[in-house]
């Protein structure tokens, strides 16, 4: 199989996943990802000509709810923030997403 994981692909996937990968590690990741993809590639050997795609297994449809506020399931502010590594004045805090 020809190499499909080029360093460009690594850079792009890292960008989409918002992961910083140091330049010197790019080739290393590329060579590690290659066999993983090859492994999954074996799935494409299965003949699926007569198999209907399965997105759902329950056979249900149109499960909807009425437009009613359910306060029972709502969190208080402190419950909502209880697992946050950092919070302030009722907000979750992350490092800045916009550089200005």
């Amino acid at each position: 199989m020809s190499s499909i994981i080029t360093s460009d692909v690594i850079v792009k996937v890292a960008k989409l996943a918002r992961i910083n990968i140091p330049t010197e590690k790019v080739d290393q990741f590329a060579s590690q990802l290659e066999p993983i993809l090859e492994h999954f590639e074996s799935l494409s050997k299965v003949d699926t000509t007569n198999v209907v795609p399965t997105y759902q297994t329950t056979g249900l449809n149109t499960i909807l709810r009425e437009d009613i506020i359910d306060t029972e399931r709502m969190f208080t502010q402190s419950e909502a923030l209880s697992n946050a590594p950092q919070s302030s004045n009722g907000y979750f805090v992350t490092s800045a997403t916009i550089k200005k």
Partner: protein, 463 residues
């Protein structure tokens, strides 16, 4: 260089359902304490299961029907994956392959689709940190995607105002651009000399109607300038997203745009497909109110001008007031009522229940005995006090005397007592105003000025 702008608009409208799209949290998020309307579903906690809001789905279909769309009988939700702090699940539940509504049209602009999705949380950027409030996370959002049929900033504005009007007529959203319950993302490129196409640019963060127009115009100019320098044309990978900086009045490069494949859409496994039968869709269609275009056409057949018809139909509540008063298709007093609504009544807040059609009919039937200022006063006062304007007119002695015999008597006195004014009139007929004023005064303001003038003219010729 011949430049033809090609503009498509993605419009997001936040539905004003009581609860969120996929959970029962209160959907109110404007001026609320941060993170007080959340639950495991809208915070994206593991294992939480989304269940779609039926009313939101129906409203999305309703909007699609109002925009002339075909409704997909069977639809499903999909996951749109991307990483951003305001999206707690790291995917947004949206629709791609099978949206509720497709192939509509709004005047000259084709509508590609109207689909259902959910809003993200709200970010506040302060002091090198981003603060997140998830009260808005999961609020139902409808996206209306146009084809790139819009040719100018002005056309974009017209289109947006139409969408806003329709959404408000349907009563499914405030569609307030400044408040963010209606948002618009224009995608723009240029066709140069009917041959070359500049790279696509999507503009984000436009927060006002003027902003939409200015941002589009800025981007048209910027792309033309850019193209004349680098001659780079559109390809499948060079679409970019630019933010609108309202302070600097310019767009700035935000990111290279993810292609649809980068979002790795796939059918949402937690939500079974949704079927709205033809009968159900027809039942939703039956709830569509009379739309602005139909109203305008109806008003024109009543003999109203284009201007009046447009003004009356601008707002569905306002036009429903007119419709309550004028129920006959051949009403002779449509114009009279339109003038009152667009005039004095426009200045106050009106509750439709307090509108009594009978009062308007009575005013119309007696309009010849009332001055125009008296009519204005009476329409407001009768609304305010909920009393028949004719009773008020009688109480306040507002009926004009048009009885010529009675006015002749007064006019004779006025002529006898004002020889100088009479002499003036003989020299200059334009000066009759003074004498008319004297008749008005002697009658305690109740004389019909037109009739008084005629009586005076007649008497003065006989002299």
């Amino acid at each position: 260089m011949k430049i033809t702008p090609i503009i498509g608009l993605e419009v997001h409208v936040e539905l004003k359902t009581k609860s969120k799209m996929f959970c029962g949290c209160d959907a109110e998020h404007f001026h609320t304490e941060p993170n007080t309307h959340t639950c495991p579903v809208c915070l994206g906690l593991p294992g939480a299961l989304p269940v779609p809001n039926k009313k939101a789905c129906e409203w999305c279909i309703k909007l699609g029907l109002a925009l002339g769309c075909t409704i997909n009988e069977e639809t499903f939700f999909e996951r749109k994956n991307y990483f951003y702090p305001d999206l707690a699940k790291s995917y947004q539940i949206s629709q791609l392959q099978k949206p509720f509504c497709i192939n509509g049209k709004l005047e000259d602009v084709r509508i590609n689709r109207v689909h259902q999705e959910e809003d993200t949380g709200k970010s506040v950027h302060v002091n090198g940190e981003t603060l997140l409030d998830f009260n808005r996370s999961g609020v139902p959002l409808v996206e209306i995607v146009s084809e790139p049929d819009i040719k100018s900033p002005e056309d974009a504005k017209t289109y947006l105002l139409k969408i806003q009007q329709i959404v408000r007529y349907l009563g499914i959203s405030d569609a307030d651009i400044e408040k963010g319950s209606m948002r618009c993302e224009p995608t723009i490129n240029l066709c140069i000399d009917d041959e070359f196409y500049t790279p696509l640019v999507e503009i984000k963060n436009v927060a006002s109607l003027t902003g939409v127009m200015t941002a589009i115009q800025y981007e048209i100019d910027r792309q033309a300038e850019q193209y004349s320098q680098d001659k780079i044309t559109k390809n499948s990978t060079n679409k970019t997203t630019r933010g609108w900086d309202a302070d600097k009045q310019q767009t700035f490069l935000q990111r290279e745009k993810e292609g649809s494949a980068d979002y790795r859409y796939f059918p949402e496994p937690d939500i079974p497909p949704i079927i709205f039968s033809k009968e159900q869709v027809e039942a939703i269609r039956a709830t569509l109110p009379e739309m602005p275009e139909a109203k305008i056409a109806k008003y024109k057949t009543l003999g109203l001008s284009d201007y009046d018809s447009n003004l009356l139909s601008e707002d569905s509540y306002f036009s429903s007031i007119f419709d309550k008063i004028i129920t006959d298709s051949d009403s002779v007093y449509a114009k009279f009522v339109a003038n009152l609504l667009i005039g004095p009544l426009k200045t106050i807040e009106i509750t439709i229940d307090k509108i009594n059609p009978e009062y308007f009919k009575n005013l119309f039937d007696n309009k010849d005995q009332l001055s125009s200022s008296a009519i204005k006063q009476l329409v407001l006062e009768s609304y305010d006090k909920q009393v028949d304007p004719l009773i008020l007119a009688k109480q306040q002695n507002l009926f004009q005397v048009s009885d010529t015999n009675k006015l002749e008597e007064i006019a004779k006195d006025v002529i006898a007592n004002n020889p100088k004014a009479v002499a003036d009139y003989q020299k200059n007929p334009m000066s009759i105003g003074f004498l008319v004023g004297q008749v008005m005064k002697s009658s305690g303001g109740s004389a019909n000025p037109q009739v008084a003038k005629e009586v005076l003219e007649k008497l003065l010729v006989l002299n």
